[in-house]
């Protein structure tokens, strides 16, 4: 028999050893940071304390490197009830209701173990939503993969899709949308960004604070094991493809447990909101991060008795207990004397609910274990990683690029359009989205396949539109304009459903920020997003940063994913992309500009993207969007569809798919331009009886192209060529291509 270890900490290196061997460097702390800790404490930190700092000062927890950029985000307007810095951001949607949303990346875990990485990504973002007291109502996934035909990519897609389905379907929150893109830049570093949206009664608005000395710290949910230890540090390091040792950092999710935790947490906040002073998910850096942040925000201290922590494994050390990233665990701070009532709600659901400590007024973060104090550090110091100001340099490829445009070859427009419809980024994802339960809760009005998903708010006339958008080929060619484009595109998608854009979240996926060129890309992308956010009045209320997305020194394209939410004041305004009736008039809103740099057709014909992007007139784009929204709310339109990858040609085909109709249109330009990609184009169909009112409203911003026809053919007449394509031929290419390439 194995001898019982009486003190599991006996084998830990002592403080002097840690200093001598520089163990802290392996945990991601620099020598400078270590020295700061020694100075502040006036002694050498022990093993547990060194672990606490390494986690709390990781980029993943502290944003120490990205903060100078993040701080510039515009995050206040008349709707904002909670901006960045909490579990999720909150916006007022009237009637004493609020929408709560956030996006988060789970890139590294998904690369290593796609099923569990994606599944726990869903679990984590949902906890951020319900920790605010909100009922989650929808999940969206923004997924970026490498070459679709490679076995490695197919294994990742299988795992990620199954993981999202396995978790999201089981917990019963519909997966309503998102995006799936493919580019070789993600071959070794796929991106899994998950956004969740919740609904909150404003009376229950809660933030993660630990106020009031003597208040108790309540641990609820799953037990703590050794899984995911140092996950935060793991997420803050680059991959080395020759090493497999990071595998131990991946956690396993249990959606059944999460469903119980979710329902009990919401119930507890509803019933005992007045005595629950703080709620926080144990996410990155688990117990230490959730408790230290709550103590710091309230300007308090905290003492935790680690012997009380429910444990799944034997002989766990304080270091392991504090840094474990076991899933489905929450921390509640409850007013002293009320803990039994709150505990009861969790124990009734067969969940652990244990008092593990209390709030103190000495601003110290103290841990006891087996009767001894094993850590004693100042809270504010632990939660304030030294800021790092990083240099920026414009990458050489951007300095030399010009807006001279790629000139595509279009000899046979039918063939080019079909070839574009077969591109994995454009082709239908329905065969994969079919694995996601998009209709549970019975509130999903627009399911995956529309411009944005729409979920009604039961009991009101309102609905919420939601989308995720990024085309990293644009941000690669011009990080600033690409950033502007991402948010404008998101807004177009929201407006195309008839909703008003009201706010955004983001996942900033970049390479190693210590590289000045990468830091430049980050800063420029954020500046682009930020400028447009202010013009279109969509504050940035939450988000996350995922850096070090590199493999063997090669970074991914800058990928600032934007998640946006819009509001329908009336479900009568909801508009879908499909053509509705023969004889309806087809309009193009926006300008058909011959821009091909970064386009799908450039990538398809040359295998890569190059050149600079044209500047965007953001004010004009906003003005046009506002008019389109007015047209939708005035019920002048029958259908609307945003023009995106593949240009007008692809978008015209898409409005006919799933309908018995065709279209007959004329463009006053060269045929090649129907494949151009420029922001701010929307196809609108209008009933003849609304034509005069629509045209009066839109003025020069809408161009009449033709009409919807009974004959199911897509006919496009350009100045130099004519296209005449069977819609069903085009549709079968669109429907089957991705599936065929995955076989």
């Amino acid at each position: 028999m194995v001898e019982m270890v009486s003190n599991p900490m006996a084998n830990e290196p002592n403080p002097t050893d840690i200093q001598k061997t520089k163990l802290y460097e392996a945990w991601g702390l620099t020598e400078h940071e270590y020295d700061l800790i020694v100075d502040e404490l006036g002694r050498l930190p022990n093993y547990t304390e060194t672990g606490l700092f390494s986690a709390m000062w990781s980029e993943h927890c502290s944003y120490k490197k990205s903060k100078p950029v993040l701080r510039t985000f515009w995050s206040k307007n008349e709707r904002v009830l909670q901006g960045p810095g909490e579990g999720a951001g909150i916006l007022d949607i009237g009637d004493n209701q609020a929408v709560v949303f956030k996006a988060e990346s789970h890139n590294h875990p998904s690369a290593v173990e796609p099923y569990e990485g994606a599944a726990t990504g869903v679990g984590g973002i949902l906890r951020d939503i319900f920790s605010m007291g909100a009922q989650p109502i929808a999940v969206l996934d923004s997924l970026q993969f490498g070459d679709v035909t490679s076995k490695q990519t197919q294994r990742l897609i299988d795992g990620v899709v199954a993981g999202i389905a396995g978790y999201g379907n089981a917990i019963g929150i519909p997966t309503v949308g998102g995006a799936m893109n493919f580019d070789a830049t993600y071959q070794h570093n796929p991106l899994v960004n998950v956004m969740a949206v919740g609904l909150l009664n404003q009376d229950l608005l809660h933030v993660g604070k630990a106020e009031g000395a003597g208040n108790v710290v309540l641990y609820v949910g799953a037990t703590t094991g050794r899984d995911g230890i140092q996950g935060a540090t793991f997420a803050s390091a680059e991959f080395d493809s020759s090493e497999d040792q990071n595998r131990s950092a991946v956690q396993v999710g249990d959606p059944f447990m999460e469903k119980l935790v979710m329902d009990a947490t919401i119930k507890a906040i509803q019933q005992y909101g007045d005595v629950i002073v703080g709620v926080q998910d144990m996410g990155a850096a688990g117990l230490v991060s959730s408790t230290a942040e709550m103590a710091d925000k309230a300007g308090m201290g905290m003492v935790l008795d680690l012997d009380q922590v429910p444990q799944r494994e034997q002989n766990m050390t304080p270091y392991e207990l504090m840094l474990s990233e076991s899933q489905e665990r929450m921390i509640l701070v409850v007013k002293k004397g009320h803990e039994d009532a709150v505990k009861q709600i969790f124990t009734d659901a067969d969940l652990n609910a244990v008092v593990i400590g209390e709030v103190t007024d000495d601003k110290k973060y103290q841990l006891t274990f087996d009767g001894a104090t094993v850590a004693d550090v100042p809270v504010d110091f632990l939660t304030s990683a030294p800021k790092v100001e990083l240099p920026q340099t414009e990458p050489a490829r951007l300095v030399t690029a010009t807006t001279a445009q790629y000139q595509p070859e279009v000899n046979d427009a039918n063939a080019v359009l079909k070839q574009l419809l077969a591109q994995p980024t454009i082709a239908s994802k329905a065969a994969l989205y079919r694995h996601f339960d998009c209709s549970v809760r019975a509130d999903t009005v627009i399911k995956p396949g529309g411009d944005a998903a729409v979920v009604r708010v039961r009991g009101t006339k309102k609905a919420l539109a939601m989308t995720t958008d990024i085309n990293s080929r644009y941000t690669y060619l011009n990080p600033f304009i690409g950033g502007q484009w991402a948010i404008l595109e998101a807004a177009q998608n929201i407006v195309a459903t008839g909703a008003e854009p009201i706010g955004i979240t983001d996942c900033l996926n970049f390479g190693n920020p210590d590289d000045p060129e990468i830091y430049y890309e980050l800063a420029q992308s954020v500046a682009g997003i930020n400028e447009v956010a202010q013009v279109i009045n969509t504050p940035v209320i939450s988000g996350n940063v995922s850096l070090y997305n590199e493999t063997d020194g090669t970074a991914i394209y800058p990928t600032p994913m934007v998640g946006m939410v819009g509001l329908h004041m009336s479900t009568d305004d909801i508009t879908t992309i499909q053509a509705k009736q023969a004889g309806d008039i087809v309009y193009l809103v926006g300008e058909l500009k011959a821009q091909f740099n970064g386009s799908e057709i450039q990538h398809m014909q040359t295998g890569s993207v190059s050149g600079d992007l044209f500047p965007i007139n953001v004010d004009h784009a906003q003005a046009v969007q506002a008019k389109v929204l007015e047209a939708a709310q005035s019920h002048y339109v029958r259908s609307m569809h945003d023009v995106a990858e593949g240009g007008l040609g692809v978008a015209l085909a898409e409005i006919l798919f799933g309908t018995p109709f065709g279209a007959d249109v004329t463009v006053a330009t060269d045929m090649v331009n129907i494949f151009a990609e420029a922001p701010s184009m929307i196809i609108v169909t209008v009933a003849p009886e609304q034509q005069a009112m629509f045209e009066a409203l839109m003025g020069a911003d809408a161009t009449k192209l033709g009409e919807i026809t009974e004959a199911p053919m897509l006919k496009i007449a350009a100045q130099n060529q004519k296209m005449n394509l069977s819609v069903s031929d085009a549709e079968s290419v669109y429907k089957d291509s991705l599936w065929q390439q995955l076989q």
Partner: protein, 224 residues
């Protein structure tokens, strides 16, 4: 009439079912599967979709032993209407209230879609209000392949217990079976979700007549 939705730990279509019953006038309440109470006051009992007890071990295998199931069994014996949708169907087969078993889809993986069902028994307690042979109903499951041995299948057919069949076999079910009743015709299990198809705003109201059929059955038969 009074109806009740049984909430198992891990049920996730319980609220959808509740709202559908409410919207169509079936006067619903909730009851926890963990409670050992009588269901005597209810005329119809609904076991909703979801992942009861995580669907660990097998779908429905653990839920079958939850305390409420004795009362559900008693209600079925009394001739009351008992309806299991999706996970509820799986629980009814595991508990022996319905024959056969729901197994992993022929092509493994969750399917979320809408599918055409053919109504095999237009006069049943659950279909009498339909005026068409075919209805479009949402499906959302990974373990929906109906399996039973040849004798059981022959009996189901002979006794008119097969209520709904798929028009295209999306999950590999024997005889395209989507929904069956017990021999007495008062216990129904089906994989598709009529409760997700009652509101035109959500795009489909083919589920409405499922609930109207139950109301009509109650109106003609009265309380037991």
């Amino acid at each position: 009439m009074k109806s009740v939705v049984v909430r198992f730990p891990g049920s996730n279509c319980d609220e959808d079912m509740y709202y559908a019953l409410q919207d169509l006038g079936l006067n619903p309440s909730f009851v926890s599967a963990q409670s050992d109470v009588s269901l005597d006051e209810f005329d119809a009992i609904f076991l909703p979709g979801g992942f009861s007890y995580g669907d660990y071990l097998r779908t429905g295998a653990i839920a079958r032993f939850s305390p409420i199931m004795q009362a559900v069994q008693a209600a079925a014996n009394d001739g009351k209407l008992v309806v299991g949708i999706c996970n509820g169907f799986q629980i009814l087969t595991e508990s022996g209230l319905l024959p056969g078993q729901l197994m992993m889809n022929e092509v493994p993986g969750f399917i979320c879609d809408e599918t055409l069902l053919h109504i095999e028994q237009p006069e049943s307690a659950f279909t009498n209000a339909y005026t068409t042979d075919e209805v479009l109903i949402p499906v959302a499951h990974a373990d929906g392949r109906y399996y039973a041995d040849a004798q059981t299948l022959a009996d189901l057919e002979a006794n008119g217990q097969i209520i709904f069949k798929y028009t295209s076999n999306l999950n590999g079910s024997e005889d395209m079976i989507a929904g069956i009743t017990n021999k007495q015709g008062n216990v129904l299990g089906m994989m598709p979700h009529p409760e997700r198809a009652v509101d035109p705003l959500i795009g489909n109201r083919d589920g409405q007549n499922f609930f109207k059929s139950i109301l009509a059955t109650f109106a003609t038969q009265g309380v037991n």
